[in-house]
């Protein structure tokens, strides 16, 4: 997998003019205002400051994407911020409401468990066979309810495919941040067969969820229980479950990303990521490799945080179906051979236009979803420091 190529200085496309970049950023600025100052948001001073900071943050990042023509590094700043600030706001609210990060059994029986998108693939078969939702949450509540979350996920996924994992997931940012810390990878050789891991976890968890009639991934394997919430440990089994969460988090989200500079939890474990890969097939946006321009130097393969490029796929001029559309490979290519592409159009046909269309859709979602999370985290921090 890994290659020991001396990385050359990357040539960047010419920067766009400031006026043109501002004009392209204007819709995102207006969208941010609409999302973060909408009716129903808190109106106290600290909340207003948090909303203002978030609006500026999201707008400036998009402006820099427009100005520099680079996507990945600006997106990464946003994504890492979401990953870091999500636990801040979420844990604060959970502790405020319950006094603990643990979900008492009574809360689960009462259907008050906040729903996240992870168990969505595990709900389908039990719902189809028995007309029962196996997640102990509320269906229609606007506060982490199942129906709003599934509806939002479906709409965004149909447009962006696995772009969800780079612009909406509020877990992946932590490992992307950790992976960015070391200057170089300590572990470079990764067996490509580990790429099948997410599919195996998906298959096992879907089948076990159907057999046990509970979201097995949430009960046993979710690394992010360590930084969100978990089943209250009342006996040895509960302790084992929580021990698994902490170990998986320490290994897949902290240690391995640090050693490999890859998003190892997303690449080797996340069942939701595997599920999202299916939707890459119907999403209009994709990354293509212009075989006429490609050398191939494999810089794109090295840059991919998700092992979604192989020599074979590069030779075919495409990414693997696990591509998260983060833009790292596009930015890394010194010959501009890796390009954004809209299905149904000719390869390398106006790639910047395809990039813009994708980024408008992705960043609108990022503001709505991640922006709200950043706002919540900033508001929580302001609450503590002021």
């Amino acid at each position: 997998m890994a290659t020991n190529i001396q990385l050359p200085r990357l040539t960047r496309p010419e920067p766009r003019g400031i006026g043109w970049s501002l004009l392209l950023t204007l819709p995102i600025f207006i969208w941010s205002l609409l999302m973060l100052f909408r009716p129903g948001m808190d109106t106290d001073l600290k909340s207003r400051i948090a909303a203002t900071i978030t609006t500026i943050f999201m707008t400036v990042l998009f402006f820099m994407m427009m100005r520099t023509g680079s996507t990945y590094r600006w997106r990464r700043i946003f994504f890492v911020s979401v990953g870091v600030l999500f636990p801040v706001g979420f844990i604060y609210n959970i502790v405020l409401a319950r006094g603990t990060m643990g979900i008492p059994l009574e809360e689960m029986i009462a259907g008050r468990t906040p729903f996240c998108f992870m168990p969505i693939p595990m709900l389908i078969l039990p719902a189809a066979l028995t007309k029962t939702l196996i997640f102990p949450g509320t269906i229609a509540s606007t506060n982490h309810g199942i129906a709003p979350m599934v509806g939002m996920w479906l709409a965004l996924t149909l447009v962006l495919g696995k772009g969800w994992c780079s612009y909406a997931c509020f877990f992946g940012g932590i490992e992307e941040g950790v992976a960015a810390i070391p200057a170089r990878a300590r572990i470079r050789k990764l067996d490509p067969r580990w790429r099948y891991g997410p599919w195996a976890v998906l298959l096992a968890m879907v089948l076990l969820s159907l057999a046990l009639f509970e979201p097995a991934y949430c009960m046993w394997l979710c690394p992010f229980k360590a930084v969100s919430e978990y089943v209250t440990a009342r006996n040895t089994i509960g302790l084992v479950q929580n021990g698994i969460f902490v170990l998986l988090f320490a290994g897949l989200v902290i240690a391995l990303p640090f050693l490999t500079k890859k998003r190892t939890q997303c690449s080797f474990f996340c069942p939701f990521g595997a599920f999202q890969s299916i939707f890459n097939k119907i999403s209009a946006f994709e990354i293509k490799i212009d075989k006429g321009r490609c050398k191939p130097c494999l810089l794109c393969q090295n840059a991919c945080p998700n092992l979604s490029l192989s020599k074979e796929s590069i030779a075919r001029g495409e990414t693997l179906m696990s591509c998260m559309k983060c833009g790292a490979c596009v930015d890394a290519c010194p010959r501009q051979a890796v390009v954004w592409h809209i299905k149904g159009t000719e390869a390398a046909c106006k790639p910047e236009r395809a990039r813009l269309m994708f980024l408008y859709a992705a960043w609108a979602m990022a503001v709505m979803f991640g922006g709200t999370i950043i706002y919540g985290g900033v508001a929580t921090i302001l609450h503590f420091i002021a």
């Binding site: 059994l105 039990p126 099948y196 195996a200 298959l203 076990l208 159907l210 089943v231 006996n235």
Partner: protein, 220 residues
């Protein structure tokens, strides 16, 4: 007349309980089927052996439970021990299965004694038979429901026949699994199936050990 009504009831109970049987056996059947050779015939053969062994497990348990008078309600102690042992054994077979499939490559490779993939002369029925027998003994909810009804019948022979017709009803739901034979086999499918089997085995073994040493599950 009354006897045929009983057996019709068993058949209907089996048909109605089919989705629950699929759910209970799915973690065992699906990944192990995915390590089979592609093609409808190998899958039909696998399912025949698996279901036959599952029937044997049903009948064996029913006969023993009838003899000791425990068909309606097996006491909690022995029930937990039985299920714990079955879970540990299932985990062992799954791990063996996953390990045995390591050298598979597409349509025809040499498997171990337990796995029936590979050259025709090497094909074995032990794998699906072991899995079928163990799932037959695993006391899933539909099986317990059938046991309660069968216990009301007049003789052990009638109870066994009741279980047989119940089994026929549930088995109808397994037939769509034959279509898995249409899925092309390659390194990706085999590897995913093997990894999934290992994960499922880990779950079974932890649950089985917890049952055997008397720990309660899930914090209840």
């Amino acid at each position: 007349m009354a006897v045929s009504v009983h057996f019709g009831e068993a058949l209907a109970l089996g048909l109605a309980s089919g989705p629950a049987c699929i759910a209970a056996c799915g973690p065992v059947v699906v990944p192990s089927l995915l390590t089979e050779r592609a093609g409808l015939r190998p899958h039909a053969r696998y399912l025949s052996v698996f279901l036959g062994a599952r029937l044997a497990g049903y009948l064996l348990f029913a006969a023993v439970a009838w003899e000791i008078g425990a068909l309606v309600s097996l006491p909690p102690g022995p029930r937990v021990l039985l299920m714990g042992a079955v879970n540990v054994l299932l985990a062992g077979v799954l791990i063996w299965y996953a390990w045995s499939a390591r050298s598979l490559c597409g349509s025809s490779c040499v498997g171990s004694q337990l796995v029936n993939i590979g050259e025709k002369k090497n094909r074995r029925a032990a794998g699906p038979a072991a899995l079928g027998l163990l799932t037959g003994l695993s006391l899933c909810p539909p099986f317990v429901a059938a046991g309660v009804r069968a216990a009301e019948l007049g003789s052990v022979a009638q109870a066994l026949l009741f279980f047989f017709f119940f089994f026929i009803g549930t088995s109808v739901w397994f037939m769509p699994f034959i279509s898995f034979g249409c899925i092309a086999r390659n390194e990706a499918v085999i590897t995913v199936a093997r990894m999934a089997m290992a994960l499922i085995a880990l779950y079974y073994i932890s649950l089985g050990i917890a049952m055997l040493i008397g720990r309660k599950a899930y914090g209840y």
